[in-house]
């Protein structure tokens, strides 16, 4: 009998009732150092596309032309919150967690560049890559059709029936050539190196 009274008294204590019906753990907030989805810092994007090129997840980031200029946009269903785009961006357009503070303190960065590789056994010499390349189009607006060009400043052109790569260093890594190649003969290789401080990579 006494135990029943004890339990009843236990159960009808106001604080117990309140706890039973209303008690919740405090809203747990993500700590400040959590790498959340990258947010814009307001700095100007130069459309170098480094963030898009280093992104390991397909379709997670795109640099779009908005009213005020270029602006990267993150797609939450695709982004894996790795923070590589934040670290790789040379302008500091994106920010996530405390990555920006850490990289500016330790002077860590990624340096990336692109290498073009044409597989001659697969290449059909159609010239699609040379025509579609946006850098080529800017350098030599007359470049069309077969992909031959009189300008020496283009990234690649058809010379003597095969694709010759002239200025690899101008490539922005947009992969337009790779997408337009009917045979997957041209491949853009992204070389990325993690660097820190004084010892700047030579390229």
């Amino acid at each position: 009998m006494r135990s029943i009274v004890y339990y009843l008294r236990e159960f009808f204590r106001p604080e117990w009732v309140r706890k039973f019906f209303f008690a919740k753990t405090a809203p747990l907030v993500a700590p400040s150092y959590f790498k959340d989805y990258p947010s814009l810092t307001g700095k100007e994007c130069t459309q170098c596309l480094t963030c898009m090129m280093i992104c390991p997840a397909p379709g997670a980031i795109a640099v779009l032309h908005k009213k005020g200029g270029w602006e990267p946009e993150i797609y939450p269903g695709h982004c894996i919150r790795c923070g590589l785009c934040v670290e790789a961006c040379p302008e500091g357009v994106l920010s996530s967690g405390r990555i920006l503070d850490v990289t500016s303190r330790d002077r860590t960065a990624f340096s990336s560049w692109y290498r073009l590789q044409v597989d001659d056994t697969l290449c059909m010499r159609c010239g699609n890559c040379c025509v579609s390349c946006p850098v080529n189009r800017e350098v030599d607006p007359q470049l069309a059709g077969t992909g031959t060009s009189a300008s020496d400043e283009v990234i690649m052109r058809i010379e003597g029936g095969r694709v010759t790569i002239l200025h690899e260093e101008k490539c922005t890594g947009c992969k337009t050539c790779e997408n337009n190649c009917p045979n997957r003969a041209i491949r853009v290789a992204r070389m990325v190196e993690g660097i820190q401080g004084e010892e700047e990579a030579e390229a």
């Binding site: 923070g83 990555i99 010892e199």
Partner: protein
Amino acid sequence: MKKTVDVSIPLGPVHPCWKEPVRIKCETAGERVLRTEVELGYMKKGIERIMRGRPWQEVMFLAERVCGICSVIHNMVFIEAMEEISEIAVPPRAAYLRVIVNELDRMASHILANFSYCYTIEHETLAMYLLNTRETVLDNLERLTGSRINTAYMIPGGVRFDLLPEDAAAMLADLSKVEDEMRRYTGMFETGPLIALRSKGIGVMDREEAIRAHTVGPTARASGVVCDLRLRHPTYRELGFTQVTRTEGDNFARIMVRFQEVFQSIDLIRKCIETLPDGPIRGGGLCRAGETSYAGEAPRGELTYSIKTDEYGRVVDIAIRTPSIMNIEACAHSMIRDVTSIADVTSTFISSDPCIACNER
């Protein structure tokens, strides 16, 4: 004489005890299990196929997502294999930071394995205690790397973030808290009479069987087999690593090995933080062409990456050998055979810490 009807009892793929889909078919006579067969293939995503023709910065994330529980070691083994191919030297501070992150991940993985064992034998109190301790470990992982599970911490030639002195102090404080809690829970597990009834002498695998089945990791170490690749890792050797072995080879021993390895990990991290050398955390370096096979000690055992790269550092061919596959086979053929009740099948299977996502990729 009453005839016993032989039944084949399937467990899974959706089962309250399994975290991941796997199907076990048990041929039983009464309650006694005569033969078991493990049916895999529910999680085959073709990660190795996706990896081909991709540079390291993409393969690194795919390697991490081979397994979410032990993601750090997949990252570490892949990156160290790439470093071996391209002869990149790692700065000493980065090597120590790698050990810290790896050991934190190992602690989280071992505590999770012990949690699921306690959950399977329906000791929910201890399971919840362990899960809460795991949160503290993950907090430290998050403070250092910025995320809880898939950390993406290591890159060729170094690591991504540095350990600040105040973070190191917070980590040491948290570690002593974790150590106190784990001592208490280990005592609870060691002395609990009902736990002993469910785990001691069940699922026994002796040393010969363990060697014959090529078991690795804590499952092998609980049977007295000497196999820990951390003994061969240069940074661990500097830290004076010794391995934990037990000789019983039953469920209890496997769980106790994991408990003891948690303490060992705590000691290793402490030693790392004390002797953390100054200097850069990234050395740079480009990936080159080559071919290698590199192994590291995952929380579940030996993990091997066989990689072939081309001149631009892209992965041409890759083969991953994960530890769980040997442990699951050994579990099916040596441990589960002759257990006396169907309830012990699940707990024995969980005690070998199977990771299906690792296994099938």
